[in-house]
Each structure stands twice: as C-alpha cells, then as structure tokens.
C-alpha cells in the first residue's frame, strides 16, 4: 500500500531506518526527485567529475515559516547551495539533501517542500543524488530542517572566484534589488500581523552567473548577499581582499515596498538577507558589460554599479548617503533577523 494512503503525519519510526523509513524514502523523496543515482539507495552516490578542482559547500536551513511569499524552505535549500557554488564560478552538478523532521509534521507539507526542491533543482540543472532523513520528537525540532551540500565543477580554463580578489579601482555591482527575501519572511510571521506584496527573491543564480562569466573577463570577487545582507558580505570581501569599498546610497536598488517595510520595522535594507542577489567586484573597464550581461537574466534585470573598490579605508565599507554625508557600514552583531534562512 503506498505511503500516501497510510500516513498523514510523520512519526518517530519514519526515522528508525526500517520499513517505514524505506516507505518514506520511496513514496516521498524518490517520487519527487526521481534521480537514477539516488534511486540506487547506496551508502554513497557516484558522480562523474573532470580532473582538477571541485567546489564543495554546505548550508543548513531553519527558516520560519516554512512557506512564505515567493518560496519555501525547499526552494531556499536548493538555491542557497547552488548559489554558493555558482559564485565561485563553478557549475553545480550534484547536491545532497538531509532532512530533520519533527514528529507530527504533515506529510502533505513535506511533499510540497520536496516538490519545490525538485522544481528548483530542475531549474538550476542540478541533480539531487544522495540524502538522509532523521525524525525527532515533537518539541525537539521545528517542522523541517534541511541541509544541502553541493559539488560544482569548473569549466576548463576557469579559475575559481573568491572573496579575496577585489582590487582598488574595481566597480562594485549588485545583481538585483535588496531586501526582498528577508522582508518577505519577516512579514509572513504571523505574530507581526502585517501583510505586503513583497516576494522572496529566492532563485538559482547559476545560469545568470555562468552566462556573464563565459562572455566577459574582469570578475575579481563575488559573493551572494544572503544572511547579514549586502552590508556584511561587502565587509567580508573588504576584509578578505584587504581593500576599502565605497558605496553610493542612491545607486543601491531597494524596492519601494521593502524600503517602507524596513522603515516601519526598524530594519536597514543593507543588512536584510537576499537569496537571489550577488555582489561582485569587476574591473572598471568591464563593469558596464557585466551589468548588461547580468540584466539579460530574469534574475538580473536591475543589476547596477553601486560603488567602487578603494585603496583607502582598507577593510571598511563606507556609504556616501543621498545627502552627501559618509557613514561606515559596519558588521552587525547578528541580532536583527533570526531564522531567515
């Protein structure tokens, strides 16, 4: 009898490694992911890679609520790891999926999440090849936590991109408007009782990045502006590269609804998490070509040069405000938005 007819909620025994685990794997995970290697159910998946370097990354996802406007924890879990690979210049080829389920989780919710992962993986062109499921007692988890790890390969002749290659004179580019993911999630929290039309920007950016990288030289550093937002990520680039970064406030794309919501709730959009925005430092002479290349993707329509890399103010990010003053964009402590991804 298929799993779906028997079970409406997850039980502890679904994580026990016996026949109930096997049914869950077969009827929920294999049914959605449908990967031939995953279906072998071996202790490890086998994937083919070219000789040389591979990129390897991991991320756990604990976002609440599990479903929010523009996405859910499943889409996030695939896109987050795909993007961590893509910003290094790698082509994501395979990801793993580790689930920690809370007893009592609705199987329908799990199926929706898994379907969303499958859709995001298909869009990114990446296979989900290996996985694992554990179940914890009610009150010892929070619905679903997902870990994804991923492997990416580098096209021949492509050097890995890091956060440490920014050089004075580079243009600083963002690929899209800031703050949508974080504000969509925060506004979806029931206890705030607010609503808006803001959608999370969670998206796989590997197609956009590959197209630009294949067509244009001059990329010196790239990161995706997730937890901690653009503010923290640019500080990390400034630190890793030993440079300063100067931003022009009026060039930074922040949607009007995000701006309003941030004002009401007391957030700074610079520190709000994105799940579909990269920050890049590009040689000045190639910056316009990069912006145009990014804008050819549906996810890069609002790509823009927002500042430049400087020799002075090393390890610091400075914002020139609309009114002409300058303020330091520091690394926040991390209190602003818990469980945003």
């Amino acid at each position: 009898m298929p799993f779906s007819k028997q079970e409406e909620t997850i039980r502890l025994a679904h994580g026990g490694g016996g026949s109930l685990t096997q049914a869950l794997v077969r009827d929920v995970f294999l049914a959605a992911f449908g990967d031939s290697e995953l279906a072998r159910l071996n202790d490890s998946a086998l994937i083919d890679v070219p000789a040389g370097r591979v990129a390897f990354t991991t991320d756990s996802f604990v976002v609440q609520p599990l479903f929010f406007p523009g996405g859910d924890i499943g889409r996030l879990a695939v896109c987050g790891t795909v993007n961590d690979l893509a910003v290094t210049g790698a082509v994501p080829v395979a990801i793993s999926a580790g689930f920690i389920l809370e007893e009592g989780l609705a199987v329908g919710d799990l199926k929706r999440i898994v379907r969303s992962m499958s859709d995001a993986a298909a869009e990114a062109g990446v296979r989900i090849v290996t996985g694992d499921t554990k179940v914890v007692q009610k009150g010892k988890g929070d619905g679903v936590f997902i870990n994804t790890a991923g492997i990416g390969v580098f096209p021949e002749g492509r050097a890995p991109v890091t956060g440490s290659g920014a050089r004075p004179g580079d243009a600083v580019i963002v690929s899209g408007p800031l703050g949508r993911h974080g504000m969509a999630v925060v506004l979806a929290r029931e206890d705030l009782g607010l609503s808006s039309g803001i959608l999370s920007d969670a998206a796989p950016l590997n197609g956009m990045i590959q197209a630009a990288l294949s067509a244009h030289p001059g990329l010196h550093a790239m990161r995706d502006a997730t937890r901690g937002g653009l503010g923290v990520v640019l500080n990390e680039i400034a630190e890793q590269s030993g440079v300063g970064i100067e931003l022009e406030e009026d060039r930074i794309p922040v949607p009007e609804d995000v701006r309003s919501a941030c004002e009401i709730l007391g957030f700074d959009a610079l520190y709000v998490a994105n799940e579909g925005v990269v920050a890049a430092c590009v040689a000045r002479e190639h910056a316009d070509a990069w912006v145009r290349a990014l804008a050819e993707s549906r996810y890069g329509k609002q790509a823009a040069v927002i500042g430049r890399v400087t020799e002075k103010s090393r390890h610091r990010v400075v914002l020139r405000t609309r009114i002409g003053s300058r303020r330091i964009v520091d690394v926040i402590s991390g209190e602003q938005l818990p469980r945003i991804c």
Copy 2:
C-alpha cells in the same frame, strides 16, 4: 576579546550571520578544525580530485544524549560519513559540517563536540573543509544537530562497491561484534536509570576497509550496519542484489553485555545500530583472507564469516538458530530505537 571569554551559551545572534557568527566560526570551529581551506571562509571550498567518479554522501545526526560511553555526536558525525564513503571503496577526502544549535547550548559542550570531530577526522585522514552554523530558539531544537556530507575518490582501477553485487555462494562477513553503539546510547539515557560497561563502537573504518580491499579481491557487496542494524542492512543487500542470505546464529558475534542488555530491554541485537561494523559479501574462496585482513585492524579483531549468500529465498534473510530452527529476519518498522544516530 576572544569568544571564549565572553560567551558561555549560544544565543540566537550567533546564527545571524554578523559579527557574533564570525566570532563563533573563528574561535570555536576554525580553532578546532584548523583546515587551511576552511579558514578561507569562501562560499565554497576548493578541493582537488582525480578525473572520474567520486563518491558523495550525506548524513544528519540527532543522537540523544549528545555524549555517551565511547563517543559523542561529533565523533558519530564524522565516522558516519567517512564510513558511508569507505564502504563504496572510496577514500574519503573532504567532509562538510553543518550545525543546527539550540539557543542556550553550553559553548563548552559545543567545543567538546567540535574537538571530537577534529580528532575523528584526523584519525580518518579526512579534511573538514566547509561548514555552516544556524541557531534556533530554545525549545525548537535539541542541543546540537550535525549534518556531514563527504566526498571520496577511488584509487586508480578500483571499481565502486555497492549493495547490489552479492552473488550466490558468497560468504557473509561482519567486521566486528554487534549492538554496542545502540545499547551504549540507550543505556546512557537518564530515564532508564541503567548503567553498564558497554561502549559505542563509533569508529572510522576507512583504514581497515582500504587495507583489505587493496590486498584481496572478491568483495562483491558492502554496507555499514548502522540504523536498523545488521538485520535491515542485510535485507537491503538481499533486495538490491536479488539474492537470499542465510545466517548462522551461533557465528554472529554479540558481546555478552550487549546480549544481556538486549534481553532485559527486549531488543534484538540484530536490529541494534552499530557505528563501527560493516557487513560484506565476499567470494567464498577469498573469505578467510578477508577475515584475516579485517582482523589486522583494531576495529576488525572479531571479524567473522556469519553466513552465506543463496540462490533460494531471494530477497530474504534467514537465520538458522542455535537450536536448529529457521526464522526469517524481516525488515522491522523502525519503532525500536529512535534518535540513535
């Protein structure tokens, strides 16, 4: 000021992606793991692999209690993924570590766990190259959950080992005594109020497996006998290989203290989780050499032939008991031991 002087427990902000996350990464994770690639703190780690196939696997760990006789969740998290790679014949090269911490966790406990991961990784000869940390509110997690994913490479000329290659006539071998991990964890649960000298067998088995594989042909199938125990794992091999398996009860090594504890608590040692035991199907003519090779490792001293692969009873595991009767070793539902790994 170093993290260790400021903080005694984990706060939500340690997962916020800001300066507190950076301090946690630097003063706890980098301090223990000390890997040069991890220390770059890029979105992905870069590792070198030979051309061809790589093995890729993931496991999440939710064991309770976090510390138990013979190990802890950290040792388990490294050994589990190392062993999943090793049983495919791959040499584990790099693993990731994703932490989901509960607000209020003692930083001292986290340091102890991370040190244990570092020690296990050093013993296995594998690098911890990339990681991630999230924090959830008190009551939404359970101390620490750890996900590890891993990449393994195959020595030149080595074909991957799976669960599907067992052939009629093969000898069935286990590398060590059964049931120690599961019983050590269960007996460590305070609510049972029992104590014993049973230690978990959690161990990295890659050295033992590589040595035997390099020296002896004839390995047809191998799995590690974790969640679900030997009973479930042999059923999986029988299913994947389309064969039957016949076991001799009196040849299966079960330590006397494990046997007693199982009797008191109503468990069947065949289904109790191990974290340092592999089951292998080996061509009969090479079986004795394999047992001797495994026994050269400190983790394989009690390796033994415990049965054989048959053409009849396909997809089934049958046990010939001490008194000469036969019973089917079925796949249990998974109710027996929650959160054992």
